[in-house]
Symmetry: D2
Subunit: 253 residues, 4 copies
């Protein structure tokens, strides 16, 4: 029976800002990537989100990003691998201690935003992240874009890796994501996104925008948690997977 | 014909966090207090909010706070008057330049959160704020809690002051606000808040929780912008004031 | 043979700011309290300082503070015990991960600045810190002002506590520190500070400013690392302790 | 009689970090570029530095940078021109208000670090900065690298521009700076730097590392303020210019 993990970014509020639907989303996903205070979140929000995830039985991961609250970590920064190594360790360690205090455990690490995208292509950056994860806890799982430099770096570091695909992003014939600058970068209808996920799960393929069928490795599917309809979409996808007899569960540690 | 100003805090998002209903609220209020990056907001959000307010014909004010994004400026900090003076100037000046670039003008200053509350009682802090406002632009209006140390400091500094009352907070027999720690601190029904505002406007009085009728000076009414029903309440209050033939407009500069 | 620990705050630079003499100070002290990014320091400075301390054979501790870079954590903030708990865990965890990556271990925790002073007197704040330390690692030592609420909270939490005295601060007849606002708050001559430390070590007493001899419990002596003569003083004190046959070493874990 | 301006970055401390020699440097330079809180500095340090410069009769400029305290604004960030526009306005306005309160005036703007370097080559970024300067105050002078995109953008915006050369950086045959990654990027002897400055001033030329004599436009010379010998070098350069009958003064507004 086919299996898949559903992951979602969480705990992205801080101070005045809240993203609101975390509690609802946690009813539908199996892995939560918790912001660690650099691009979003803060110690109090992290503690709250860890409790929500723990109580919902959802696996907890660290979601380190660039130190850029104003830009929500989506603005590329040119940091040395040394800086990225130290900043990644800092963020993972902070969440580990907060989780420990709540009787919970950090199980995986998924970089955020521009850090995620740059680490998908830059081997030195990817190695810095993978080594930081290994130093923090060699049993941590490393989430990265399917086929990316980050997944390869995780393997080099001896980590278990989890390849990620996207439910609502479209793909190119070479297996890369359609850039966000293009009009057809996103699936706007839930039905199309569900269809794409089912194809991943059942056939290990995705149909590119030009009709090419591409093989894609998929251990986990990323749902975006910040849109107004995030919870609705998560519910619909979860239901469709149940109908298709797909087991939804976190990657075993 | 009686007049009143309706003011509301705005631009409190940053990065991932948005508070969402600013555009809607601007249809109902006459003064916007824009966060300046210390407790909330950032340069991009400030620019966006200035444009929204300018286009809606709503008067723009600076809303300086403590440097505490995590605590949204609601956590008291013990700063020297010297520090508060410099931080207040910094925030006002930042908004002035952003407003200038948009062909808009900063007309008033209203401290935020814990800074507002502390300046209502601490003369040295209040003087530091009033002097910073005067140094930034002596024609700026200073908003403060009716009857507070901040209003007195503004007068000492030669500023024009605007006394503020609250629509949804209850009052004590001595004219102070009921502390938030008490169960009866807030009016939960819009009708009661509207009733309180109409009494301010028509009679210059408020009825305290023990039934005492207290005289209160009121130039502007603060609406809270961050609850889920903020826009609904603003609309209802605006309609009630129209029915009562009260002119809603910003204090003339 | 009498023993004492010498501790010093370290890693307080960030970006443009450096405090410079850390490498020199590490030749003379036995415990290093490393800033964790909230009042000073950042991940890169933390990593650098951990390496310096490890290579010098100096014991590593976390030095959590209020989130106030502008005020260097010396400005009191009124946070809930819940907020302090989360913020303390966050900072300790961040340093633990960075230390782990360098083959080093965080052995103790000492709060910084206003947090240290407030936790010396406020039981609820002290309990929040002690519980955060216990949750992060129950074998951590908790450093606090001799005779303070923080030491008592550490005992209640089942932690091993380390009582701290100051070399260059003067004392009152009731055993408290002379407030910094008074002219005689500090020993300005190294000889007097050395004399005070030797009295602690040999007799467990300190002579107050009015001549009263007071009993004071002393496991560790705090040296200030940020003055221009910090390293000179550390060298002189270390030499004086050697002459007096006092063993200088960190409190065994 | 030839003239030149000497400018230096100032006010780069914050919290624990101080760079110390500002007061001494102000005796030798004629323009001070004051950090505005994003890459260094804070409102209190800005106020202090404005007072020092004002009292020394040194012209005050804003020194906006990327929002990156950890990296001291030296790490490239990919921001949209829109973001840079808003962030530059914010920083200039903040310093303008602080200067106004001290009876001083902001006369010029010089971007810092990675923002300066990127704006030297990227027209869209340079236009965003120039437009922000113009919006803040159209009479502000814009400092930029001699021959750079930023100088051209300033001209397009109708600003008066000030072309900058470096005393201690070496040049290439095409007039660009030798990259810092190369061993011969810097003059390490003060005598060579003084010689280079005198050639700028008297002949409008610089001798490149390969011996080529290159024409370079020079209105102002940047001294670095953060090395241990910064003040010594400033004093030596100032004395050499006096001996050579060069007038050292700020560009008239």
């Amino acid at each position: 029976m086919p299996e898949i993990d559903l992951n979602c970014d969480m705990g992205e509020g801080s101070g005045a800002g809240t993203t609101g639907s975390d509690a609802e989303l946690l009813r539908h996903v199996t892995s939560a990537n918790i912001a660690c205070g650099f691009h979003a979140g803060d110690p109090m929000v992290m503690q709250h989100t860890v409790r929500l995830a723990r109580d919902a039985g959802v696996v907890i991961g660290a979601h380190p990003g660039f130190p850029d609250l104003q830009g929500f970590g989506r603005r590329p920064m040119q940091l040395t691998p040394h800086d990225v190594h130290a900043q990644t360790l800092y963020q993972i360690g902070a969440l580990q201690a907060i989780a420990r205090a709540e009787g919970a455990t950090v199980v995986h690490v998924k970089p955020h935003g521009a850090l995620y995208n740059m680490a998908a292509q830059d081997d030195a950056l990817a190695d810095a992240i993978a080594d930081a994860v290994r130093c923090a806890d060699a049993s941590l799982l490393l989430f990265g874009l399917s086929g990316s430099a980050l997944i390869r770096a995780g393997m080099r570091a001896g980590l278990r890796t989890v390849s990620e695909v996207f439910a609502d992003r479209t793909y190119q014939a070479d297996g890369t994501l359609t850039p966000r600058s293009r009009a057809d970068a996103l699936h706007h209808e839930a039905a199309r996104a569900v269809e794409q996920v089912l194809a991943f799960v059942h056939h290990g393929t995705v149909t590119a925008t030009d009709g090419t069928v591409v093989r894609v490795q998929a251990d986990t599917v990323c749902l975006h948690g910040d849109g107004p309809h995030a919870a609705d979409f998560a519910r619909a996808l979860r239901a469709a997977l149940a109908d298709a007899n797909v087991t939804v569960r976190a990657t075993p540690r």
